[in-house]
Amino acid sequence: MQNPLLAILKTGIQTQRQLFSELPPEATGLPSVTDASCSGCGQCARACPTQAITLGRDAQSSVVQLDRGRCLGCRACIECCPTRTLVEDRSTRTAVRTREECIISNRPAPSAPISTVSPIFRRSLHIREVSTGDNAADLEVIASTNAMFDVARFGVHFVASPRFADALLVTGPVGRGMREALRRCYDAMAEPRLVIAAGTSAISGGIHRGGYAEANGIIDLPVAAYVPGDPPHPWSIIHGILLAMGRTA
């Protein structure tokens, strides 16, 4: 039998040096809206299983609005778009600071409010993760802590208790069964504290939205960063964490 230490040495350094590397060509990314003229055919809106797309018109042409906070990344809209207004986004820097910024369109975005992120967590952030019904997102959060993505290199650590935590990172759509537990976890944290919504289901409930379980995402906590995706890529989760810390744009 091989010596385990030798096996580890042979494995070599696994940590990705390139931060926020683009998705490889074989991967499918979240949809993005280009300024290619939209014919207003509406196929995308009908194909979307979570009603993330709305169509309108202005003086020039059709306006397509895509709410990434509801998007599953299923590609149904990209596959049926005849004008290539909806295309794949290969970026992993997909997190945003406000719910409004999750909504993208083929019109210039209104200038985003100048964000005022307190510098207090710039150098280190301790996070309590709470899972509420999307275990694939949990796996990607765990992946962000492994040797390949290594979120610890940014001074970010996942901790066992809300008492130790600066931030609450939520995955899943927060149905009736978890709302009270999540609230108590937040209340147990010392101020200042942040909340990060990791994944489409945490942002809006995603595919679960609108049911009797009221699994409509985080509704009563102030969210500092939104990470769309079902589940989001580990780099996107790290992007959301760094956004909340004020370390990246």
Binding site: I8, P49, T50, V130, G175, G177, A213
Partner: protein, 506 residues
């Protein structure tokens, strides 16, 4: 009142009375080759409800549903649990969703919808005018005796893990009883599946437990295709099989690393995450997504595998197989690891059988059941490997089963990548589902037998959609396995089962 249901497959429905249901189900389950499938209920109209018991015939790859309609105004039926202990959580779930009381159930209480989060009179799947029995406030089993103390844990746990409540009753550090109370993540999946257009149901079905995307999507697709009577093209069946095996491979490799971590064996905990990462890269090559989301769909798969990606997959699998073969003995032949896992968290074959334990946990406790041998999904049963087998039922046996299955999955994937049939990857679907029909998809997902069961109404809409995650019965296996163990060994036992909370909570 009753709906006549047809199934183009090997599943038949027989009507019976509530009184005859339990003895008939027990008699069927005792036939050679038969086993417990799933128990649920179904609203027949706004006033009437039937209790449906599915028993599986592993030799025919089919089964029988014993359906017992209850008289109008009655919300009680004789419990099956005293005859078939495997039904004990399923009957409680029927209580939560339909307001039916299983009279004579030995541990009657809510399973998923607990007070005060859920109103005592909310029964989301019951008919609007159906008689219902009120849900009682939840009471934990209180173990009495000198020196017994309780340790409540959860719903939120210390790690990055799903929520659930564990109530340990201990003498000193020894667990005498563990009561597992889940349901915190209930999202109303089964109801939602009857509300969305059937063409979009796959998105909901796949999200039942999103860490088993390929398994859930495949079980859903098989159920729908069975209903429609369509066969998927061979290449699609092969690509589905590869997706299912990659999911098994990745999760089992991850488990070997996590088990190492739980016993403080840092070398194992360091060596396996990169292997798991390598399987995610394979998944991304095949499906476009690390977690294989939205790849398998009724009719086939979402995209074909081109020559470039096929080549990359072949190389990746060869490399992964080499590393897995090299690293596995470093964990499972390490005397310190064996010492720690041997005899820990034992589940005896008799109890595993009685409680319907499936998947690697069942096969570690002497069961020969692997759905790949019996039920059509992907290229199974034709390509089914001989089932992994252990008798000791401890943490070591469950780890060894996973190691055996890693090797078997790699062999299946390697073989398929060499002989991919040249056909389209998706068959066209008709615009509607047949009326009053049953479709049942049974898949050996990485945690074990995963069952999607759908029934359409007279208009061809999905009237009832039931899911049984492999974890649903296996949670009881975990509760039994930790008895007599140190409470500090719970994380190790828990990881050796590695069950889904959200697949259970639905």
């Amino acid at each position: 009142m009753t709906m006549m249901l047809t199934s183009p497959s090997a599943f038949t429905m027989l009507e019976t009375t509530p009184e005859a249901l339990a003895p008939r189900a027990q008699a069927l389950a005792r036939q050679p080759g038969w086993r417990y499938g799933h128990l649920t209920a179904r609203a027949l109209d706004t006033q009437h409800v039937a209790v449906d018991m599915l028993l599986l015939d592993t030799r025919q790859g089919g089964g029988t549903i014993l359906s017992a309609p209850l008289p109008k105004g009655v919300c009680e039926y004789p419990a099956l649990t005293p005859y078939l202990p495997a039904a004990h959580w399923a009957e409680r779930a029927v209580g939560d969703f339909f307001g039916l009381h299983a009279a004579g159930h030995p541990r009657w209480k809510s399973l998923l919808l607990h007070d005060p989060m859920w109103p005592a009179d909310l029964f989301p799947l019951a008919g609007a005018e159906q008689a219902t029995c009120r849900r009682e406030p939840y009471r934990f089993l209180e173990v009495q005796g000198e020196g017994i103390h309780e340790i409540p844990v959860g719903p939120i746990h210390a790690g990055i893990i799903e929520p659930g409540h564990f109530r340990f009753s201990c003498v000193g550090e020894i667990v005498t009883n563990l009561e597992i109370r889940l349901g915190y993540q209930h999202r109303g999946i089964e109801k939602r599946l009857t509300e969305v257009p059937w063409q979009q149901a796959r998105f909901v079905a796949e999200s039942a437990s999103s860490d088993t995307a390929a398994g859930n999507a495949l079980a859903h697709a098989v159920a729908v295709e069975q209903l429609l009577g369509i066969t998927v093209p061979e290449r699609a069946a092969a690509l589905r099989t590869i997706a299912l095996e990659i999911e098994r491979l990745g999760n089992h490799l991850g488990d070997l690393g996590a088990l190492s971590g739980d016993i403080g064996y840092s070398a194992g905990a360091a060596l396996f995450p990169p292997l798991r990462g390598a399987t995610l890269a394979l998944a991304q090559l095949l499906t476009g997504n690390r977690r294989q989301r939205w790849f398998i769909r009724p009719g086939g798969v979402a995209r074909d595998l081109d020559a470039t990606r096929l080549r990359a997959l072949r190389q990746g699998v060869i490399e992964l197989a080499r590393r897995a073969e090299e690293h596995t003995p470093l964990v499972l032949e390490n005397p310190g690891v064996i010492e720690r896992m041997d005899g820990t968290g034992r589940l005896t074959p008799a109890l595993a059988r009685d409680f319907g334990i499936v998947g690697p946990a069942g096969r570690a406790s002497g069961s020969g059941y692997d759905a790949r041998l019996h039920f059509t999904h992907g290229l199974f049963p034709a390509l089914a490997p001989p089932p992994a087998h252990r008798e000791t039922g401890d943490v070591l046996a469950r780890a060894q089963i996973k190691a055996d299955e890693i090797a078997a999955s790699l062999a299946i994937i390697t073989q398929l990548l060499e002989m991919l049939p040249e056909t389209p990857v998706c068959a066209p679907l008709p615009p509607s589902l047949p009326a009053s029909a049953i479709g049942i998809g049974i898949v050996e997902a990485w945690r074990g037998e995963l069952l999607h069961w759908l029934i359409t109404d007279e208009a061809g809409n999905i009237a009832r959609y039931a899911i049984k995650d492999p974890s649903f019965n296996n949670w009881t296996g975990l509760a039994i396995a930790v008895r007599g163990n140190l409470v500090t060994d719970f994380p190790l036992c828990n990881k050796s089962f590695n069950l889904s909370y959200s697949g259970n909570d639905l």
